[in-house]
Symmetry: C2
Subunit: 404 residues, 2 copies
């Protein structure tokens, strides 16, 4: 009965293979490299317990925390985030910050704000699947960025967009330890992206979900910091919209992320927040502000050491077990290693056998491409299994792949 | 720089007068009848503190509560809501329930699921402003339902929708103690609405934000319960999509509401949830489940007695102070009384003077109409001021209106 009444966009909405795969995690005996979620052993549980207890013991704070609130976000949390952005070279004020339900919500809002059906969104291939899900409801056409190996000319992107009846509305990238590849854009690639966006006169959406999980190598400046520098330090003149989150550093369970951008965009996004869900849980924002003040730097340090050891275990196991012809990335942070198999192999087919024969799970890389390519790739996450499980699981997976 | 890149829909996004008015609440000395938010004195603060503390003291529960989770919602909470719906005559199972960030998010999702630009949404006049904000981003045309005084013929609605290049995608109503009028649809009006929707073969969205705040009169069955009855008790055959919330009975601060509907629609909405913000804060869902189990019936009883006393104070004060020609509704629950002034008066103009001269705030009724009518109306909320403040504030407002 409902089917004929659905909006045209409903055709573009599909279930995430990854989210469906999360269900596999619960099968006993499986060593899963599929999830890509943070290790709960790192969650600041005691600090969260203390923060909730203190707020709820205070009659004024609890009345506030359990009530509706302003759509922009809890002022002290916005102020903390603005200071955090300043440390990254982005001189933000609280008015440049919108608090969102994780950075996923920020991506959804940006799709809603910019995309009319038929417009073009520039994305890398592969890219974060959740971003594609967020944008696709607004019926864009996708065109491909290759920030490291050379983008096409601005005119070529603009003409292809016009042929489709729209224009290029934004360029979306995950510049640090990207999901799914684990790779980081060089400063040169970031400057090149800014130059392209200037020619196209379009915003850049910088999704930094993993940026604070660096455990090796040198930090690269945020694209927003580079662009603000080109505008004499004026964030309100920058075309970069920065999406941040506490999900990977503190906890994803409170659903708190943020947008940092020019005030004009933040005001627009605030209207969208108001119409979408009024405001983020205020008690969670109050707790997150305390966690950020009290634990942020320590949590970042702890997470870096924790994930570095797991990455090292996975790199060593890949080297020891993968047959010739298999290659992989060496991430300097984040949660993912990206594996490229010989051309004739298919990650999705291997997954079926891996679960049954090797009791190992991962995400086939094809899921992260918009064009059906990438079948001979796999995303491996080292965030949840122990080092011993990583060693064991990669050995089993390597044996399977070597037998193909 | 961003302006030329915004989607066409951005034109339809406007700030809520009501949300802007919330800022007036903070001006000292003002007696505000504007807000329409629950009284924080009713929040189950101690039970919430105990629930957070217990969950966070448990290593397994805290790891779960602070982690990502499934988009559908926390299974025990979905099960509680399904039992709750069964008490309302809707035989729901957990698979019929999606947990949302308040019912506001449910409305946004339903706009996204059903409306292609140019389609028609049927709404009452006046109606809940937040619903219009949620739907308007999807660029519908609105047509007017008059469930009590007589809807137009189905053909007339369908033809008008077709002339606009779309079709009628749903009928939206707040049947119980509506925001803004405080009025409740009779059983006859509900049956009439179902008959209209059957002819148009469109869903009905039943927004029940206030339904459990009944403090007088007799309950009227939910539209969904009436429709399920017509389908032999099969919820999966019903065209009614029920949007519920804990915001008015327990607390809005955890941002937890729900949709109860046929499984096919819940599955679609779950995909939208996944793309929008992955999932509602799991720790908040776990806490809400405990609050619901432990306190729901007691909270409903407490809230009813509390708001009844305030409504009574406001009705008495209106009777004592309003000049002839002013009329108002007598709500049997909820938070609002709707005042109709003589035709020549303008609620928005009176508000300006009321704030300065009478130190009283309310919401001018015109904000709740899509067609610019209703200027001579006001929405008064009795939820926050004490009975003494209500008596005093209405006396001051009545004096001002009598002087016009």
């Amino acid at each position: 009965m409902f089917e004929p009444r659905y909006a045209r966009r409903a055709e573009a909405m599909r279930a995430s293979e990854i989210r469906e795969l999360l269900k596999l995690l619960e099968k006993p005996g499986i060593i899963s490299f599929a999830g890509g979620i943070p290790d709960p052993a790192l969650f600041p549980r005691d600090a969260a317990a203390a923060a909730y207890a203190q707020i709820l013991a205070d009659p004024v704070a609890s009345s506030q925390g359990l009530q509706y609130s302003v759509s922009e976000g809890y002022p002290p949390l916005r102020a903390w985030i603005a200071r955090h952005m300043s440390r990254l070279g982005v001189p933000a004020r609280a008015d440049n910050i919108l608090v969102t339900s994780g950075s996923q919500q920020a991506l959804e809002f940006l799709g809603k704000l910019f995309i009319t059906a038929g417009d073009t969104a520039l994305v890398t291939a592969p890219t974060y699947l959740g971003a594609l899900q967020a944008f696709s409801a607004y019926e864009p056409r996708y065109d491909t960025l290759r920030p490291e190996s050379g983008n096409r000319t601005p005119a070529s992107y603009a003409e292809a967009a016009a042929l489709n009846g729209g224009s290029v509305k934004f360029a979306y990238v995950v510049p640090d330890f990207a999901n799914p590849t684990g790779e980081t854009l060089t400063a040169d690639a970031r400057h090149g992206l800014i130059a392209l966006a200037e020619e196209l006169d379009c915003p850049i959406i910088e999704d930094t979900a993993y940026v604070d999980l660096r455990f090796a190598g040198e930090s690269v400046p945020a694209i927003q910091a580079l662009d603000v520098e080109r505008h004499g330090g004026d964030l309100n003149a920058s075309r970069v919209i920065y999406c941040g989150t506490f999900s990977k550093t503190l906890t994803p369970g409170l659903r708190i992320g943020w947008v940092c951008a020019a005030e004009s965009v933040v005001r627009r996004l605030t209207l969208i927040k108001q119409a979408s869900d009024l405001n983020c849980s205020l008690i969670n924002q109050m707790v997150m502000e305390r966690l950020a003040v009290e634990t942020y730097d320590a949590q970042v340090a702890k997470a870096g050491a924790h994930y570095r050891a797991r990455r090292d275990a996975m790199l060593a196991a890949l080297k020891a077990n993968m047959p010739a012809g298999v290659t992989w990335t060496t991430p300097e942070g984040g949660l993912f290693i990206w594996v490229t198999l010989p051309r004739h192999m298919d990650g999705a087919e291997i997954l079926q056998r891996a679960i049954v024969e090797a009791e190992v799970a991962f995400v086939p890389g094809g899921a992260f491409f918009t064009d059906g390519s990438g079948k001979n790739t796999m995303r491996l996450s080292y965030s949840l299994p122990s080092e011993a499980q990583i060693t064991q699981g990669i050995a089993r997976l390597g044996k399977l792949i070597a037998s193909l």
